[in-house]
Symmetry: C2
Subunit: 459 residues, 2 copies
C-alpha cells in the first residue's frame, strides 16, 4: 500500500526529507522484538517538534490515514506494528532533555529520550530516574505501555513516575495534562489516562517525570534456593514483612543456566533471588539483615554480595540480558513471552502451576520475574515453523493468564496489550473493555491512532 | 421541583421506603461544610446494593433525571449539591467492609464506609488505611474527590491507594476496573479515571484499597519558628533532603492562636511545624535527628515530642480540628477555604505571597497545610452578609490560584473542583478541559451524573 498522493504531498510539505517511503525504512518499522509481525507501514515520518506532530495528525485525520507512534521498537506485544498500514511516526529525533528541575526532583523530556540517556544526563545532579524495564527503551514508549521492571517494587511504574504530559490528539490539538505539583485534585486524571494507552488516544510529545535521589547506600546480592517453591515463598514472606526492597527478582534454574552460558557467570543451576537495598547505611544494614533471616528460613544459600558499583552493574546487566540469554538456550528458536501479575499471596501457587504446565507440554520455558510485585514471565522457546510447538506455547500462555484472572490478577503486569494480548481483554475487563472502546471513539472518532490495538473493534 | 410521577413510581418500586421526598431529607442533602448552597434535590434515595444503584441509574437515565452521589457531606467545594434538582443518591447505607485480605494488604469496602470505621475494623490486623483528610469522610467520597491530607507525603493520595473499583455507569451498566495485582499494563487506567471524577462519570459502589503495615515505631513532634518564611523554607529543605516524612504540617501564628482557644493547647503564637516519622526504631531515630539538624538551621525551637499514642492522638486531633478552630476565631463568620498546591521549590514564595495578600485585604485568614506536598490552605473568614468581604476573599483565592498556575502548580491540591473551582478549570487545563468534557459526554450522554460540575457546560 502507499499513502494517498495528496496526503503524501501535504506531509512532505511539513517534513521534507524526513518523510520516507523507501522499503528499508518501512520494513524497519514492521519489526518487533517478539515474534509479532505485520505488513510495513506506507511511510515513515520523523517529526522534530510537537507542532509538526500536530500538523501530521491533522493531515492524517482528515484523510483517515492510520498513525502509529514508534520509539525504540523494543516492546514485546507488537504495540507499534502498523496492522493496517498508514504512517509510522518515529519519535526518536525528539530526543531532547528539555529541563531538569533538580530542586523539585523533576525532569521534562521529549518522548525519544531513552531511560539510559536521561540517567546519563542526570549523573551530576545526584538524582536518577528509577523505572527500569531492562531494554533501553524510549521514555515516550515506556509511558505509552505503562512500563515498569526491576525497581517498580520500590519506586512504582510509569503510572507513578509520569506526572505531566504534552499530548497531540487525533485531530491535531495539543494539550497539556497534569501539573508540576506533587498532587492535584483538579479534574479527571488525563495523565493517567494517556499512560498505558499504547498510542491509541494521542501521541505523547513531552513527559514530565518524577526523579529520585541517588540512595546513600546500595547493596545487592544473589542467593540460591533448593526449590522454586522455596524461592517464591521467600519473596511473599519478604514483601509481607514490609522490608522496603529496591529490587527482588526471581530467576529459575533454567534462567541460571542461560546466564552461565551467555554471561559467563557460574551460578548453581538452581532457582535464585537477586535483591537490592537502597537507603542510609544503617537502614540498608537493617533491611539486609532482616531479609537474610527470612531467606535462611527458606533454605537460601550461597549469598553473594555485590559490594562495588561494578559488581552490581554486572549483576543487573546479567538480569537485563535474560531475554537474549534465554533465547540462546535453543538456537534458532523464537520466544513467546508471558507476563502475568498476581496478588502476592497467590504468587507461589501461580509460579508453581506455570512451571508444571510448561513441563507437561514439554517446552523449554525459563521463568523469571519482578516477583516483588507479583509479576513473572516465562519465555517459551518454540520453533516458529512447528505449529504444534507454537500451539502448545499459546495454550500455556492462555492458561497462565486465566489462572491469574481467577485470583484477581492481570493478563499483563508490564508488557501491555498490543496485538498479542488483545484476545484476553474481554476476559479481564468484561463491560469495562467496551467502556475503553467508548473513550477511544470519543477521542479518536476516525480511529486513526494505532488502529486494531487495545480496544475492541468498532461496530 | 419534584420527580416526574412515573420516575418516582418506578424508583419506589426499587427502593420502597428508602426513597424520600420529605423536606427534611431533601434539605439535608443541599447542605455543605463550606458556604456553597443549592436548592434541595427532588428526592433522596438510600440504595443498599450495586444492583439497586444500577436500576436507579437506568430509570433516571431514561427520564433524564440528575443523580448526585452523596457520602458524609464533608466536601468543601459543594461537590454533592444538586444544582439542577434530581435525585440525591445517599450511599451511607452501603457501609460494609466486604473483605480484608491482610496477606495482600488490601481491603474491599462499600462506598459508605468511613475511613475511621475501616481503621477500627483493621485494628487487629496490624494494618491501616493511611489516607487521612481530617474529616471522617466516606471512602467513596474520598475516592471521588481524590482526597489526600496529612499523610499523603508518605503514602500518597487516593490516586495511589485505590487499586480497583466497582462502578455503575450512567446507563446502569456495572463495571469493575483494576485488579488485585500490585500493577497492571492491561489497557486504559479506568480506576484512575474514576478516582477524582466527582460523581460525574459513574457511581462508585465498591472500592479495593491498598493498606499499610502499622509502623513499628512512630514519633511526632511540634516545633515553633520565628517567621513564616523560616518555617516553610525548613519544609522545602527537609523534603529536598529526602527524609521520608510521614507527616509534615505547617500552621501559621493565627492557626496556633486558634488551637489554643479551641483545643486548650498552649502553643506560642508563632508559625509551627507538626511532624511525624514512621519506621523501624533505628530509622525513626535517624530521620528525627536529620530533621532536627535542618530545623535548627532555620531557628526551630521548643521541640515538643509526643511520645505516647495518646499525646500523638491529641496532636493530630488538634490539627484535624483546625477548620472549626479557625472558624471560631471570628464567631458568626463563614469560611472560604483555598487549596493550592505548588512545586516544592516555589512553596516558600507562594505561602509568603498569600500571607501578604491576606494582610493587604485586611481579612483574618489563617494559613496551614500539608506542606510536604506543596499543598496549603487559607481559611478566609468573612461575614457572608458583607459583599465587600466576600469579594475580597474571592479575589485572594483567585490570586492564590493564579500564582500557583504561574509556577506550574494546581488550583486544587486535594479538595477538588465541585462548584467552587469550576471557573478556574479553563485556566489550568486549556484545551484539556474540553477533552474532559468529551470524555464526560461519551460516558454520560444525557448528562445525568452530577450535572453542572467539573466539566465545561455542554454546547
Amino acid at each position: 500500500m502507499s499513502l494517498p498522493a495528496e496526503t503524501a504531498q501535504r506531509l512532505r510539505a511539513v517534513l521534507g526529507p524526513r518523510l520516507s517511503e523507501t522499503a528499508a525504512d518501512r520494513d524497519h518499522h514492521a519489526q518487533s522484538e517478539a515474534f509479532h509481525r505485520s505488513p510495513p507501514p506506507d511511510a515513515v515520518a520523523w517529526p522534530e517538534t510537537a507542532e509538526e506532530v500536530s500538523r501530521i495528525l491533522g493531515i492524517c485525520n482528515e484523510a483517515g490515514v492510520p498513525v502509529i507512534a514508534w520509539g525504540t521498537g523494543t516492546s514485546l506485544e507488537g504495540h507499534a506494528l502498523p496492522l493496517s498500514g498508514g504512517l509510522s511516526l518515529d519519535l526518536l529525533r525528539m530526543d531532547r532533555v528539555v529541563e531538569v528541575r533538580a530542586e523539585d526532583m523533576q525532569a521534562s523530556v521529549q518522548p525519544g529520550v531513552t531511560r539510559e540517556a536521561l540517567n546519563t544526563e542526570l549523573r551530576a545532579t545526584g538524582l536518577f530516574f528509577p523505572v527500569d524495564p531492562g531494554a533501553n527503551a524510549s521514555l515516550g514508549g515506556m509511558a505509552a505501555t505503562r512500563a515498569s521492571g526491576t525497581t517498580a517494587v520500590r519506586y512504582g511504574t510509569m503510572r507513578e513516575n509520569v506526572i505531566a504530559l504534552q499530548v497531540v490528539l487525533a485531530d491535531g490539538r495539543i494539550i497539556r495534562t497534569g501539573t508540576r505539583a506533587a498532587k492535584s485534585s483538579a479534574g479527571y486524571d488525563l495523565t493517567g489516562l494517556f499512560v498505558g494507552s499504547e498510542g491509541t488516544l494521542g501521541v505523547i510529545t513531552e513527559l514530565t517525570l518524577r526523579l529520585q535521589g541517588q540512595p546513600e547506600e546500595v547493596a545487592a546480592a544473589v542467593c540460591a534456593f533448593d526449590s522454586l517453591d522455596h524461592a517464591v515463598e521467600c519473596v511473599s514472606a519478604t514483601i509481607q514483612s514490609g522490608i522496603p526492597m529496591a529490587r527482588i527478582e526471581f530467576v529459575d534454574a533454567a534462567s541460571a543456566r542461560a546466564f552461565n552460558l551467555h554471561s559467563g557467570s557460574s551460578l548453581p543451576e538452581k532457582p535464585h533471588l537477586m535483591i537490592e537495598f537502597h537507603g542510609s547505611p544503617a537502614a540498608v544494614r537493617e533491611d539486609a539483615a532482616r531479609f537474610g533471616e527470612i531467606a535462611a528460613e527458606f533454605g537460601a544459600e550461597g549469598f553473594d554480595w555485590a559490594t562495588t558499583a561494578e559488581d552490581r552493574a554486572r549483576l543487573w546487566r546479567m538480569r537485563h540480558g535474560a531475554y537474549h540469554a534465554c533465547l540462546a538456550l535453543r538456537p534458532g528458536a523464537s520466544g513467546l513471552i508471558t507476563d502475568v501479575c498476581v496478588p502476592m499471596s497467590h504468587l507461589p501457587a501461580a509460579v508453581h502451576a506455570a512451571a508444571e504446565d510448561i513441563a507437561a507440554e514439554g517446552l523449554i520455558g525459563p521463568i523469571l520475574g519482578h516477583v516483588g510485585d507479583g509479576n513473572f514471565h516465562s519465555l517459551l522457546l518454540v520453533d516458529p515453523a512447528n505449529p504444534d510447538e507454537v500451539g502448545a506455547a499459546k495454550r500455556i500462555a492462555t492458561r497462565m493468564a486465566e489462572r491469574a484472572l481467577a485470583v484477581g490478577g492481570t493478563i499483563s503486569g508490564e508488557h501491555g496489550i498490543g496485538t498479542g494480548k488483545r484476545g484476553l481483554m474481554g476476559a479481564q475487563h468484561g463491560e469495562g473493555w467496551a467502556l475503553m472502546g467508548q473513550i477511544k471513539a470519543a477521542l479518536d472518532p476516525r480511529n486513526i491512532l494505532n488502529p486494531g490495538k487495545l480496544v475492541p473493534d468498532r461496530n
